[in-house]
Symmetry: C2
Subunit: 150 residues, 2 copies
DNA sequence: TAACAATCGTTGGTACCCCCAACGAAAGTC
DNA sequence: GACTTTCGTTGGGGGTACCAACGATTGTTA
């Protein structure tokens, strides 16, 4: 019956397959790591963006974090419920909300940073330091290209 | 207002972020490419697995393609509805179904192969030939490691 | 200034991939 | 014969990503 459970070469040869598969493992590690501190990917992305660029409207936040506006609403709701973020109406432009990182949010961000550092180590374990920079360089190149033409 | 729409360095520095983001682009290309010939990822994976290993039970198919048994049911339903696959009860083991690739299915697989080849080209455009093999080597290494310890 | 266009936040829905729990039916094992 | 395992199936959930539409507000411009 040859009941091997190894993948077809049709798949293992495709770069897109390798990418999405490894990304799936990476995603699982990230999701689990963040879940252990009651967070998920969107939360970190929002907090990190706020920390780096300062308070912003949801629209600007979405553009910078790459999160869809409609998904951002729920993410901010969850963050606000946890007291990590504050959402207040913008007095200068009454269409907007101003989202601000709280002190608690900044502490949580530090926790998430640690968690994610651990995850990176788990993810890249089999690679040498040189290989890791190789990988990030190549991925960054791909990302830059596709970010441009979109 | 500095309304740049570029991502925070907090994110761009994380390998897991680079991976999942590039994978997102790759996934979009794959999804669109396959959708243009009325297919999706699971379909290709099933067809390719059948082509390489021959007729098999759904359980074996799931193990080899990495598709969850519960998801495989729907995928085979869709493939069978398109006449690309045949599902017949196994006479030797009446718990099993034997899934077989049809001639139409084999032709469709060829079409999908072409589509995906195009996608690989789109995906890897900014990389040289050497860089492409570098990338696939690194990804394969990561994948092998994480497949083991799971 | 009045009409039009664009932006912002929100809601609700879709798609894909991945995973889990449970079940009846059929096989294998002791 | 009881027990366990496998197989196919159903139903559900979660996370990421996207689209369409809407009221409200702002801007542009004729």
């Amino acid at each position: 019956m040859t009941d091997d459970d190894t993948a077809p070469t049709r798949l293992t040869g495709l770069p897109s397959w390798l990418l999405t598969q490894t990304a799936a493992y990476a995603g699982r590690l990230v999701t689990d790591g963040l879940a252990s501190v009651d967070a998920r990917g969107y939360h970190f992305r929002v907090l990190a963006t706020l920390d780096e660029y300062g308070p912003a409207s949801q629209a600007a936040l979405g553009r910078r974090s790459g999160i869809h506006l409609s998904d951002l609403v729920a993410a901010i709701n969850e963050l606000a419920a946890r007291g990590l973020v504050e959402r207040a109406p913008d007095l200068d432009d009454r269409r907007r909300n101003v989202v601000t990182l709280t002190a608690t949010g900044r502490r949580q961000l530090a926790t998430l940073d640690e968690q994610l550092a651990t995850v990176q180590e788990q993810l890249l374990t089999p690679l040498s330091a040189a290989e890791r920079t190789q990988l990030t360089t190549l991925l960054a190149k791909l990302l830059a290209y596709h970010r441009m033409s979109s």
